[in-house]
Symmetry: C2
Subunit: 374 residues, 2 copies
């Protein structure tokens, strides 16, 4: 059962998704030992409770499911948890290769470190928004082809279709989390659209990485799918060469997660990125993030980076789909290389569950122009 | 008066520094309208209250100052506020030039964007610790001169002497904060030591910037100096060429802050970085951070980047002081290029106040070896 947080008749409640309706877990758990986990209407207390409690809640919720069902349209979905730190990786070989070919056509597509460690960076936790919130087109500096500096609204606004992992159980500063402990710390999965202003990003990012090109907004799905529901979706990762260092060794467990993503622009399917093919697996991302002793906090959001597959229609960004604007997408609504004001992007995903396919929460967002300066 | 948060007889209280003692503001404010601002023992509520309240508290606290003084040694200082997002800039021209010369000896010392925008990146908020907390030496991957990859404890552990700005008043997502509104949003100043593992950093940072080389720990002073106490410390920034874009134009106000830093290694003075000479001023950093519509939250920490002056004894990192290990420091305790286990680094600062010099809170930290794996 996917979990979320919603406003319902002016009250914030925790909800569990049951088909096209939602179970009011804040009401349904009343009188049970689990009531305090849902009392504040966010997932924060549940996340902090740890895996044994997550599994106990999962079992108990099945007996609650007949009560307190609310039609989805009566809910206003909220950011489901308080985002602590937001880390974004770069774990798709196809994505990193495409970006390298586009921006560094004369060099190696992958940087020398790429196959040795999962490259990542910190993003802005305070601008993570829930699915459905409009995204204001950012302004910033960009360098024009003639070398001049332009300031104004981004002209190369893009998406990044990603998968996010939500940390529940924290860890101690100074103590790395071993790769085998992934499921002890991670509660579940969400979908992420890491909006990116390519013109701002490409001018600012040397040498300290992406900053304003990303920090204006990151959208996540309103619904979090617990790892417990994804038991059947783990599969073998691609072959890695060179072999990962011991702290990144995810064999022999099937460490790749088989999620089938779909990206729609104004309703039209533009890509089907396959998450199973990511070079670096979710347990490797968590192990790498903490190997230097960095601690985890409840609410940490760890995103995969853009999910791109080897086929053209499996690319997770417009940068790749339009090959930096040189091969615009031909859509029913017109040609598109980057996002126009009013464009709406929706990312969905399914996975194999124990009893058939399961659907992850979608993440959607619409681009709006900046408000006029008063 | 500097503000902090401390444990006192098992209770968390807000304290104001009065010479070598501290005023218990949680107790002293009882019965006043300001009591709720200090009730939880952190600065969070005060930060969120906004500038008019900060000034009213400042005025009222003078009348409280005779009561409830506690000797500092009876307090255990705590992280003074909940860190929301942590952003680190790279605002010293001398520092950026030194780093460029060391790592890119054949190229231009400054990247082409450096004088057009204040380069910055997000750090890990969850590993910000208060002055006095030991720092565990991080492990990670590093590339050896022969091209092989080594995994183990960092061999090039460094400091970065910085100044941090603590955001009180939040802003709305999608709406930039104009440069003139700096003091409406920023409550005060702390000192920052942005510990850096140079060997980990140099292998990982292309193309997405510093990550594990920095995320293991960042130390901040226990005491926050309100901007109100620094009225007399503002001065003219250096000449900027090219002229900053309008959103970064900090003229004609004296936008540079004249703080005199000192860095000590095991008690020995090794540097006196001058904050007044930073190329990008604090108001410029805030304006840039938000120009893309990124919102501010109460508790955001905005650090300047390493403060280095033009003289050798004004450099704010060991990387620069030892010129990447080629010119080790000759200290009473022996030669030093990077930090050894047991080394203790303390950064202090003074400024001109309205009634004579004022002292900022110091930030100190000691390096400890990783605990043995059980």
């Amino acid at each position: 059962m996917n979990y979320g947080s919603a406003l319902y008749h002016g009250r914030r409640i925790v909800v569990g998704r049951v088909g096209d309706a939602a179970l009011d877990l804040t009401a349904a758990s009343l009188g049970s030992e689990f009531a305090p986990l849902f009392a504040d209407g966010s997932l924060d207390a549940l996340l902090a409770a740890g895996r044994p409690t997550w599994q106990a809640v999962h079992a108990a919720a099945a007996s609650w499911a007949e009560h307190d069902l609310i039609p989805l349209e009566e809910l206003t979905m909220l950011l489901p948890f308080t985002v602590a730190d937001y880390v974004d990786f770069y774990a798709s070989e196809q994505h990193a290769t495409n970006v390298g070919r586009i921006f560094r056509p004369d060099g190696d597509a992958l940087t020398p470190n790429w196959k040795h460690l999962p490259i990542g960076y910190h993003g802005r936790a305070g601008t993570v928004v829930v699915s459905g919130v409009d995204v204001v087109r950012p302004s910033g500096q960009a360098r024009e082809p003639d070398g001049s500096i332009r300031f104004g609204p981004s002209r190369r606004l893009d998406i990044e279709a990603e998968v996010g992992f939500v940390v529940g159980t924290p860890s101690r500063q100074g103590i790395p989390v071993p790769i085998a402990d992934f499921a002890e710390h991670v509660f579940g999965v969400c979908l992420v659209n890491d909006w990116s202003a390519r013109d701002i990003q490409s001018w600012e990012y040397v040498p300290l990485g992406p900053f304003l090109g990303k920090s204006f907004a990151t959208s996540i799905s309103a619904w979090i799918t617990p790892l417990d529901d994804l038991d059947a979706a783990w599969t073998a990762p691609p072959v890695r060469n060179p072999a990962p260092l011991p702290y990144l060794d995810d064999s022999p467990s099937p460490a790749a997660l088989d999620l089938a993503l779909e990206v729609r622009l104004n309703g039209e399917l533009i890509s089907r990125p396959p998450f199973a093919g990511m070079y670096w697996t979710p347990p490797q991302l968590l192990a790498h993030l903490t190997v230097n002793g960095a601690s985890l906090r409840t609410g940490d959001l760890i995103a995969s980076g853009t999910v791109s597959g080897p086929e053209r229609d499996q690319r997770g960004s417009l940068l790749e789909l339009s090959w930096n604007g040189t091969e615009p997408l031909q859509l029913a609504g017109g040609e598109r290389s980057f996002l126009l004001d009013g464009d709406e992007v929706t990312i969905t995903a399914t996975a194999l569950g124990r009893e058939g396919p399961i659907t992850l929460g979608e993440v959607t967002g619409r681009i709006v122009a900046q408000p006029a300066t008063p």
